[in-house]
């Protein structure tokens, strides 16, 4: 079930109302059932797979806590990690890993092994990467002694499956989410109100901004050779904000939905496009995943405490894994590796150019113009580099990515426009005024106006202004919502 589907808007109020009508001690059971229904709505088999993951990690978590010897603890830890990664590999990466090799053809021709190939082509269970990472983090935290193991299996299943953050995060840690899920809570109007504010703003970002941008981006990428260089730039620019508003909108919807139940999920975005460097960008973009990589890969590998080479290795490992996490495709790996190089470039090279910006304060304690210009340049540079790497992110194949890069940077590199042929109209990216208008409104809000999260920010206005904004957002969603059928970008991961 998607947040931007009609069924969800019947599902959410029903679950919410029933949740609070039930006795406090039994509410979590209802939430567990609702979460499995939410997930099984796509395919019942998916729910079975998630249950299997939960059972394995619940068992491993207990073994890690209870077994006396370090060796056994390690065994259960790696058993858990291995089983999670194996499932992830089977459903997400097997097809990519096998490719169209001679081995596959041989396997296809022999019934005994053909099922493996078929499995690789099976639909990727929605959000498998998200709940797998969440589940892994639990076992690791128990191993490290940071968390106590959950002995109640259904309760652990709820931690893995809590529906607002199940399919696209934020990836929550056990300590934070578990304590909220089972805490005594009586609904408060402030939470309901703030939750609804996040929901409407999230829906506005997804439906009115991202889906409208998607109509242009999809048109370009479905037949990129038919467009001009300028249109290639426009599509690349639009995609940058499509992916941002899409995922940001989703995260707000998740936070808003969870807040209705009194559960505070972490912020997943914090104005990434004001970041002055790629390292800072990743502290502001998909924060729950970035911190996951930091805590479970970057720091264990050595982090920044063991010299530049280890740092470089850890960073590249993180970004390579991040690319792979985003999708079983060469383009995603290229995206991750490019981010890694940009990270190292900023960290080791660009940092040395800091002197160009001059002092941080003038004699009156203000930011000098030279520093402001330099910071502005760095912000634009960071956003621009990120935008460029998104060409890989969006392209279906490496060939398409290469062609789009060629179109962007070499005039006349490729252009098969059919202008002038009788009866054949050249395709166009013109999709009405609402697209640039909504994008400008969003950029204005995100980069300059909104200093707080949407719910807090909206709360600062007087009631008439606030309601005017609600109505404007609602009408924008209803009347100018994007018509392109585009699921959440991160949903596929």
């Amino acid at each position: 079930m998607l947040f931007n589907s009609v069924i969800y808007w019947f599902f959410l109020p029903l679950v919410w109302l029933t949740y609070f009508v039930l006795p406090a001690k039994q509410r979590w059971i209802w939430l567990l059932l609702a979460s499995y229904f939410f997930y099984g709505y796509w395919k019942v088999e998916f729910a079975g797979l998630m249950m299997l993951t939960s059972v394995i990690d619940w068992w491993c978590g207990m073994r890690v806590e209870q077994d006396g010897s370090l060796g056994w603890k390690k065994f259960w830890l790696w058993f858990s990690i291995g089983s999670n990664l194996a499932m992830l590999f089977m459903f997400k990466y097997l097809d990519f890993a096998l490719g169209d090799s001679a081995m596959v053809r041989w396997m296809s021709d022999h019934n005994a092994t053909a099922w493996i190939v078929e499995l690789g082509k099976y639909t990727i269970p929605a959000g498998i990467s998200f709940y797998t990472f969440q589940s892994i983090s639990y076992v690791v935290d128990v191993y490290r002694g940071q968390e106590k193991a959950e002995h109640n299996l259904p309760k652990f299943m709820l931690y893995v499956s809590f529906f607002p953050q199940l399919v696209a995060g934020p990836i929550e840690r056990f300590g934070k989410l578990h304590s909220q899920l089972f805490a005594e809570y009586s609904p408060r109007w402030e939470d309901v109100r703030n939750g609804l504010r996040l929901v409407i703003y999230g829906l506005f970002l997804k439906v009115a901004v991202a889906d409208n941008l998607a109509s242009v981006v999809d048109a370009f990428y479905s037949d990129h050779t038919s467009f001009t260089q300028a249109e290639a730039w426009l599509a690349t620019f639009y995609f940058t904000f499509q992916v941002y508003t899409d995922f940001f909108g989703y995260s707000l919807l998740a936070q808003g939905s969870a807040l209705l139940f009194g559960i505070h999920l972490m912020d997943n975005f914090n104005k990434p496009f004001i970041a002055k460097s790629i390292p800072e960008f990743w502290q502001r973009w998909h924060i729950s995943l970035s911190t996951w990589f930091r805590d479970y890969i970057f720091i264990p590998v050595g982090g920044n405490k063991r010299g530049p080479w280890v740092l470089a290795l850890a960073a590249m490992l993180v970004f390579f894994t991040s690319g792979l996490w985003h999708g079983a495709n060469g383009t995603m790996i290229a995206f991750g590796v490019a981010q890694g190089f940009l990270y190292l470039f900023d960290r080791f090279v660009f940092k040395k150019l800091e002197f160009v910006g001059g002092h941080f304060h003038d004699h009156q304690g203000r930011l000098p113009l030279r520093r402001r210009l330099w910071d502005g340049f760095r912000t634009v540079k960071t956003g621009f580099f990120f935008m460029m790497t998104l060409v890989w992110f969006r392209s279906a194949t490496m060939d398409q990515a290469s062609e789009v890069f060629g179109m962007l940077w070499m005039p006349g590199y490729i252009n098969c426009r059919l202008d002038g042929l009788e009866g054949i109209a050249a395709p166009t990216l013109a999709h009405g005024l609402q697209i640039p208008l909504f994008l400008c409104i969003f950029l204005l809000l995100d980069l300059w106006v909104m200093k707080d999260r949407a719910d807090v920010w909206l709360g600062k206005f007087s009631m008439p202004i606030r309601w005017l904004m609600y109505v404007s957002m609602a009408v924008s969603i209803w009347i100018w919502g994007g018509a392109v059928n585009h699921p959440f970008v991160y949903f596929q991961f």
Binding site: L2, V6, S108, E118, V475, I479
Partner: protein
């Protein structure tokens, strides 16, 4: 009542009421500003035509691409079936609504736009074209289906803004091309193609090396997947042959489009049932036109193994239509069907037996039978479609008109003699069975393919 409820319920209710009021006002503005009208044309180009057809038409012809002259370069006589139909029914107002890729599932949804008590203003008839191919996985899991379903949102009289919200929230079968491809592959992989569930059908792809010829039954393929794989394997050593290479994509397409078996669970079959139910309620006559797939090319590509499946499916539909025709023969509501393939074969056979036409375009080289029309009547020579030349389009219209007139005579709506106003069609490129057709026929390449097939697919 719990304390929190007293606090929260009024506030939530107030917001719901305000939201509903805003929605109501926005809906009025959306319609009165003309925005809805523009968007309806943008999202659902045929919805407006449907309104008009139901408003002004006595006979509404719901068709897909085969209604029209699909190939303007070779099909110089460009009347569509519905235009021919108007010529055959001068006393009726015939309105045609057609679009590429439409199917009975959509036609069923289109009935949402049919006005209440439409038939009160006189006996009405709706003609629905039925394309057997559209019941198969390739059509059902087509990447364009989401777009069709988006259009179908507007085939209803619900509030305008609600339609638009449903578009924004993708409240339709919005599976994207990738998901559709997966569903299609799943079908190809799992759906059994054996007509009689016999054990004769084995995985040809695996066991063919051990098989000796025991008659054709031994070589049946269980699934499309194995059939395709077998085809590719047989083709690989001869892939350098230009003629065969040209036919190969066509052969694959024929398998994917026609290798399936219809059953009661098929959603398109269920859509047919829904159509009849709806018309029965509304007392609107319905005529189904069962289009004629390209049996000739299918036979030359894969022989009886494929055409038997096609025959099974056609018979499945025929039985259904014949049952309805019989059931609803006497009352105020009639169902009829036009079996283009059978009628055309009978007609040509009659002409042949009378010696009217020596070269009637039924049998082609290597296929001297009267079961189906020759492949040259199809304007798409390299892909399995039902796009036929003007000659057959006219034939379809003629037979459909006969069926409608029969209803009208029976109901005494039509009493006098109806004189068709069909212009004389002068033989021209691809208008009549014309053996000087200049369009790129697949015949030469198919000849080479038949040699290949007889060698490898015994």
């Amino acid at each position: 009542m719990m304390a929190w409820m007293k606090d929260i319920a009024p506030k939530v209710l107030l917001r719901l009421v305000v939201g509903a009021a805003v929605f109501f006002v926005a809906n009025i503005w959306y319609v009165s500003s003309g925005l809805y009208k523009k968007e309806r044309v943008k999202f659902s180009p045929v919805a407006g035509k449907l309104d008009s057809a139901f408003l002004y038409g006595d006979v509404v012809y719901l068709g897909e691409s085969s209604n029209t002259s699909f190939n303007p370069w070779t099909d110089t006589f460009g009347y569509s079936v519905s235009e021919f139909l108007q010529m055959y029914l001068p006393q009726n107002r015939v309105r045609g609504v057609s679009h590429d890729g439409y199917h009975v599932g959509l036609f069923s949804q289109m009935l949402g736009l049919m006005p209440e008590h439409w038939a009160d203003s006189g006996r009405k008839t709706v003609v629905i074209t039925v394309n057997m191919r559209s019941f198969g996985p390739s059509a059902m899991f087509n990447g364009n289906e989401a777009s069709n379903q988006q259009e179908a949102i507007f085939y209803s009289h619900r509030r305008a803004l609600l339609n638009r919200v449903f578009v924004s929230l993708h409240h339709y079968d919005s599976r994207d091309a990738r998901e559709m491809e997966r569903a299609k592959t799943q079908w190809f992989r799992t759906k059994d193609l054996r007509l009689d569930n016999s054990t004769n059908g084995r995985h040809y792809g695996i066991t063919h090396g051990d098989l000796v010829s025991k008659g054709e039954e031994c070589y049946r393929h269980n699934t499309v997947k194995w059939w395709l794989r077998d085809l590719q394997r047989q083709f690989a050593p001869v892939s350098g042959d230009a003629d065969l290479a040209r036919v190969m994509p066509m052969a694959e397409a024929y398998l994917k489009e026609f290798a399936f078996l219809l059953d009661e669970e098929n959603p398109r079959v269920q859509a047919l049932d829904a159509i009849v139910e709806k018309y029965k309620r509304e007392q609107v006559n319905v005529v189904f036109v069962l289009l004629m797939p390209n049996f000739d090319h299918a036979h030359r590509l894969f022989g009886a193994e494929l055409t038997q499946l096609m025959d099974y499916n056609m018979d499945f539909l025929r039985k259904r239509f014949a049952g309805w025709e019989k059931e609803y023969n006497k009352g105020q509501f009639h169902v009829g069907y036009v079996d283009v393939q059978r009628l055309y074969s009978d007609c040509r056979l009659g002409e042949y037996l009378q010696g009217v036409s020596e070269d009637v375009g039924i049998g082609t080289v290597g296929n001297p039978c009267f079961d189906w029309a020759g492949g040259q009547h199809y304007t798409d020579q390299w892909y399995p479609t039902e796009h036929v030349d003007a000659h057959i389009r006219q034939f379809i219209a003629q037979k459909t008109a006969e069926k409608i007139l029969a209803f009208q005579y029976r109901d005494r709506i039509q009493t006098g003699v109806t004189k068709p106003m069909v212009p004389e069609i002068k033989p021209s490129v691809n208008n009549l069975p014309n053996w000087n057709i200049k369009m790129p026929l697949a015949d030469t390449c198919l000849g080479a393919w038949q040699g290949f097939r007889s060698k490898h697919f015994r």
